[in-house]
C-alpha cells in the first residue's frame, strides 16, 4: 500500500436554498503529499467536513476540482478510503464479513478475501473478534473495524471524518496511538478532520486550520515533533508551544464568529 498525491484546486462550496445562500468554503487550494498525515481543524461549521466529503467524492464542489494522482475526482472511488464519525458497520454482518464487504467484486478469491480481512483486523488489534456482531462491540472496537474496512482494499488516500469524536477520552487516546502505529507501518496519505487540537498535533505532520464560514486556510503548520510519537509527546514543550499557537488562532476565529454585527 502506498499513498498518492491529492490536490485540492480552488475548491469552493456554496449551498443554495430557496431562502438564502450559504458560502461554506471559500476557494481552497492544497497539495497533500503521498506519505503525509494532514489534519484539518477549525471551529464547528467551518466547512472542514464538507471539504473532506468533496475529496471523497460524496459531495460535488461548487467550483474548482480535486485530483488524486493527477486524475480529477468525479465521484467516490476505491482510490480513497473513508472512516466516518458515526458507527457505520453493517449490523447484519459480523466483523469479518464487514471487512470482506469492501473486498467484494475484486479479483481476489474467497480465501484471499478472508485472509486479507483477517490481516487488517489483526493490524487494528481485533483479530479475535471476527465472528462478533457489531452490536456486541464497544465504540472504539467498531471504529477499529471501520479502519480495517477502509484500509483493506488498499486505497492510496485515507479520509477520516472525526472518527474518534464519539469516543470517551481514554479510548480516544488509545485509538490515536493505534492509528499512528498503523500509519507509520503503511505511510499513506491521510486527511483527518477533527476539532480537537491535541489530537491534531499528536497525529499530524501538517495541520491546516480553516477560518469560520466561509472556510479558507487560516494556518498551515507543521508541528516539529519527532516520530515515532508516544503519549509522552502530549506533555512535551514542543507540543505546548504548538498548542498555544493553534489555540490562539482558534480563539480568534470563534471570537470573530460571535462578534455582534
Amino acid at each position: 500500500m502506498s499513498g498518492a498525491e491529492a490536490r485540492i484546486l480552488d475548491v469552493t462550496k456554496t449551498y443554495r436554498t430557496r431562502k438564502r445562500t450559504v458560502e461554506a468554503l471559500a476557494p481552497i487550494t492544497l497539495t497533500l503529499k503521498p506519505d503525509e498525515f494532514t489534519t484539518i481543524i477549525g471551529t464547528s461549521g467551518c466547512g472542514k467536513s464538507t471539504l473532506l466529503h468533496i475529496v471523497a467524492g460524496l459531495e460535488q464542489p461548487s467550483g474548482g476540482r480535486v485530483e488524486i494522482k493527477g486524475t480529477p475526482v468525479v465521484g467516490p472511488g476505491r482510490d480513497r478510503g473513508m472512516v466516518f464519525q458515526s458507527y457505520t458497520l453493517f449490523p447484519w454482518l459480523d466483523v469479518q464479513a464487514n471487512v470482506e464487504f469492501a473486498l467484494r467484486d475484486t479479483p481476489l478469491s474467497k480465501k484471499e478475501r478472508s485472509d486479507r480481512a483477517r490481516e487488517y483486523l489483526d493490524l487494528v488489534g481485533i483479530a479475535d473478534f471476527g465472528t462478533a456482531m457489531p452490536a456486541q462491540l464497544s465504540g472504539g472496537m467498531r471504529q477499529r473495524v471501520a479502519i480495517a474496512r477502509a484500509l483493506s482494499y488498499r486505497p492510496s488516500v485515507l479520509l477520516m471524518d472525526e472518527p474518534f469524536g464519539a469516543l470517551d477520552a481514554q479510548t480516544r487516546q488509545e485509538m490515536q496511538e493505534l492509528l499512528l502505529q498503523v500509519w507509520e507501518a503503511h505511510r499513506l496519505n491521510v486527511l483527518f478532520v477533527t476539532h480537537d487540537i491535541d489530537e491534531a498535533i499528536f497525529l499530524s505532520d501538517r495541520i491546516i486550520m480553516l477560518t469560520g464560514r466561509p472556510g479558507r486556510v487560516k494556518l498551515d503548520v507543521r508541528p516539529q515533533i519527532p516520530r515515532p510519537r508516544t503519549v509522552d509527546v502530549l506533555t512535551s514543550p514542543e507540543m505546548m508551544t504548538q498548542k498555544a499557537e493553534l489555540l490562539t488562532a482558534l480563539r480568534e476565529e470563534s471570537q470573530h464568529r460571535w462578534r455582534p454585527q
Binding site: R78, F90, W92
Partner: protein, 287 residues
C-alpha cells in the same frame, strides 16, 4: 401489584411509616421493565377476568343468552361445526384466499415501495395517487369488484388487494427510507453502483422493518377477507358468520369471530418468531 416500584424506593428517603397513605410512596414507574413471568401472569389474569365476567353475566341471567351466549354453548357450537366438517372447509377456504390475495399484494408492493423509497422521481410520481386511493375505504369497492370480477375468488383477492396494497407500499417506502445515509456513503466510497447499493445495503438494512410491515398488514388483510366473504361467498369464515346470523346462531358467530382472532394471533406470533430467526441482529441491543 403493590410492589410495582419497590426497587426505586428507599435511597435517602425515610421508610414509609405504617398508616401513611401508600399513594404517597408507591408510584407506577413509566417505561419500567417487566419480568416475563409477571407479563404472562398479568396477561393471563386479564383474560381470566374477562372470561369470568362473561360467564358470570350469563350464569346470573343478567343478559339474554341470545345476545350473549354462554361460553360453554359457544364452545359446543364450534365443536358442532367442526364435527360436520364445515369448519375445516371454511377455514381452509379463508386461509387460501388470504394467502393468494396477500401474496399478490405483497409481491407488487415490495418492489414498488423499494423504488419509491430510493428514487425520488418514482416517489414523486406515485405517492399522490397512492395516498389518494389509500383514503378510499376498501369496503366501498365491494360492489365495484363484484361488477368487475363477479362473485368468484378473483373478487375476494381484489378486495384483499385493495385494502392491503396501498398501505403496504407506503409503509415499505418508509421502511426503505430509514436506511441510514452513512451506510450508503460507505457503499459509495467502496465504489458500489446504485443497483448494488440497493441489493447489498438498502435491502438488508430495511429487511427487518419490512418484515414487520408484512406482519402488521397481514393482520389488516384478515379484516378485508371477512368483508369480502360477508358479501358474497360460497364458503369461508366470513360467509359462515353471515349464515349463522341468518339462523340466529349467536354462539356460532362468537366462535367464528374468536377463531379468526386466534388464527391471527398464532400467525402473528409465528411470523414474529421467524423474523427473529431471520434477523437476529435487529433485536440485539445497541446497533
Amino acid at each position: 401489584m403493590t410492589q410495582l416500584d419497590s426497587a426505586t424506593r428507599g435511597t435517602g428517603a425515610a421508610p414509609p411509616r405504617p398508616g401513611t397513605s401508600p399513594a404517597a410512596v408507591k408510584r407506577v414507574r413509566l417505561f419500567g421493565p417487566v419480568h416475563w413471568t409477571k407479563f404472562w401472569i398479568c396477561g393471563g389474569a386479564a383474560l381470566a377476568l374477562l372470561l369470568g365476567t362473561w360467564w358470570t353475566l350469563v350464569a346470573l341471567q343478567l343478559v339474554n343468552p341470545f345476545f350473549l351466549p354462554a361460553p360453554a354453548s359457544v364452545w359446543s357450537g364450534g365443536i358442532e361445526m367442526w364435527r360436520s366438517g364445515q369448519l375445516t372447509t371454511d377455514t381452509l377456504a379463508s386461509v387460501q384466499r388470504i394467502t393468494v390475495g396477500f401474496l399478490i399484494s405483497t409481491a407488487i408492493a415490495l418492489p414498488i415501495g423499494l423504488f419509491m423509497g430510493t428514487i425520488a422521481w418514482v416517489e414523486a410520481s406515485l405517492e399522490p395517487i397512492i395516498d389518494f386511493i389509500r383514503y378510499m375505504p376498501a369496503v366501498a369497492f365491494v360492489p365495484l369488484t363484484i361488477v368487475w370480477f363477479g362473485v368468484g375468488e378473483g373478487q375476494k383477492y381484489s378486495i384483499i388487494f385493495i385494502g392491503t396494497f396501498f398501505q403496504q407500499v407506503l409503509m415499505v417506502m418508509d421502511n426503505v427510507k430509514r436506511t441510514p445515509r452513512e451506510y450508503l456513503q460507505v457503499g459509495e466510497t467502496l465504489g458500489l453502483s446504485s443497483t448494488k447499493l440497493l441489493q447489498r445495503i438498502v435491502l438488508p438494512a430495511s429487511a427487518p422493518a419490512i418484515w414487520d410491515t408484512i406482519r402488521i398488514t397481514l393482520g389488516w388483510a384478515w379484516t378485508w377477507l371477512v368483508v369480502a366473504e360477508l358479501v358474497a361467498a360460497p364458503d369461508g369464515l366470513g360467509q359462515r358468520i353471515m349464515v349463522s346470523q341468518r339462523y340466529f346462531d349467536t354462539d356460532r358467530i362468537f366462535f367464528l369471530i374468536m377463531l379468526i382472532g386466534v388464527i391471527g394471533l398464532v400467525l402473528d406470533q409465528f411470523l414474529k418468531f421467524i423474523g427473529k430467526r431471520l434477523f437476529p441482529w435487529a433485536s440485539a441491543e445497541g446497533v
